[in-house]
């Protein structure tokens, strides 16, 4: 999609969680109780920040190297790659993709994370890259671990990587989480389960042996679809 394309369909509400999901306790006092006011698409909605190459260096996409202080971070190296595209499956180039995650022991590099698991001094868990002309992005990182949280008794978050994406416009802004295939914690996680049943599987990466780097790292594929034209080229 080019910057000049200013046609967006309504947000696909069946793809997104509701504001209030009782099982996820933090939604109870924070979810708005009133419906949003629907507004027309003006320049305010059809434009947005173009944050790109000036914001990061190539090493920012390698979380196993971008925070090294005195050695390699500990954990299972993985590659996470995929395409950023619109609803018509056209690539979204130049999208800033920012990620963050806990370390291989299940601890975030964050003062608010008090989980009794070790901090890794060589791993910040933060990275960024920009999608290429085909919409492709690629990170090298460590596989994050599950960790406990206080939502309910014996609550554990399944391993996940947070993704933040800026597409062509404010309308295409997305923050989401990527999960790993076959994780037994998925059906027990109220955040994952808040997503409509037909849409949940889009949050789960696929193991891809073609992405796996021999002798180095397992590969996962995670394609990301941002709001945008639904017609494929030639139909519209």
């Amino acid at each position: 999609m080019s910057d000049g394309d200013t046609t967006y369909p309504p947000r696909d509400l069946a793809s997104h969680p509701p504001a209030l999901h009782e099982a996820y306790g933090s939604t109870k006092a924070r979810a708005p109780s009133l419906a949003p006011v629907v507004v027309p698409h003006t320049l305010s909605e059809l434009t947005g920040p173009r944050l790109g190459l000036d914001r990061h260096e190539a090493i920012d996409a390698d979380l196993t190297r971008n925070a090294v202080r005195n050695g390699a971070p500990l954990g299972e190296r993985i590659v996470v790659t995929g395409r950023v595209m619109d609803e018509g499956e056209r690539p979204v180039p130049d999208a800033l993709v920012e990620v963050w995650q806990c370390n291989a022991a299940g601890r975030y590099h964050h003062p608010g994370d008090q989980h009794d698991a070790p901090i890794d001094p060589n791993f910040s868990g933060a990275g960024s890259c920009v999608s290429d002309a085909d919409g492709r992005y690629r990170f090298t990182t460590l596989k994050p671990a599950a960790y406990p949280w206080g939502n309910h008794p014996n609550a554990w978050r399944p391993a996940h990587i947070h993704f933040s994406l800026f597409g062509p416009a404010t309308l295409t802004r997305l923050i989401t989480q990527m999960y790993f295939p076959g994780d037994p914690l998925l059906p027990l996680d109220p955040i994952f389960m808040s997503t409509p049943a037909g849409a949940r599987d889009r949050l789960v990466a696929a193991y891809d042996h073609d992405v796996t780097m021999p002798g180095h790292a397992l590969g996962y594929r995670f394609d990301i679809v941002l709001r945008g034209r639904r017609a494929t080229p030639g139909e519209g």
């Binding site: 000049g4 947000r11 997104h16 920040p49 920012e98």
Partner: protein, 190 residues
Amino acid sequence: MARETPSQTIGPFFHEALIRPGENILAGDDTAGARIVVEGRITDGDGAPVGDALVELWQANAAGRYAHATDARAEVPLDAAFTGYGRGRTDGDGVFRFETIKPGPVPGPGNSLQAPHLNLVIFARGLLNHLTTRLYFEDEAANETDPVLNLVDEARRGTLIAQRRERGGQTVYRLDIRLQGAGETVFLEA
């Protein structure tokens, strides 16, 4: 056709990746326009501060043009010293703060003109989808005819209008945001 990737909450641990010092300061020495401070406090349905929110700001420049290819109006100047984007976190008291310039008016639907406004996007733990709202300025007569404000029930319009005061030589616009309950902020769906 591909379906949208679902939204998930930003959670409480985004700061290492998303917060850079000074990124809530949009106006530099060479930026054209009237300097303003924008601040507000985000509270939840219990009145408790939301101390772990991320707030993003997107706005036009002082002439009313967005730094984006879709805003192709060559007759309205761009400002090389202004991107129009900023982001910042709320502090433990739920307060966010930006230093920017007052934007000019931008076109609305048809031949209408929109009153000067800031576009705000809010992310936080407990928000499975981000929230979008606008900040208008109380001292703008154009608010009366703004096409978006006029879509909002008059009784709730005030939740989008920041109050102006002078403080220590600065012009401060204040807009508190209530996520839920009495005085709930009007959120927008485009």
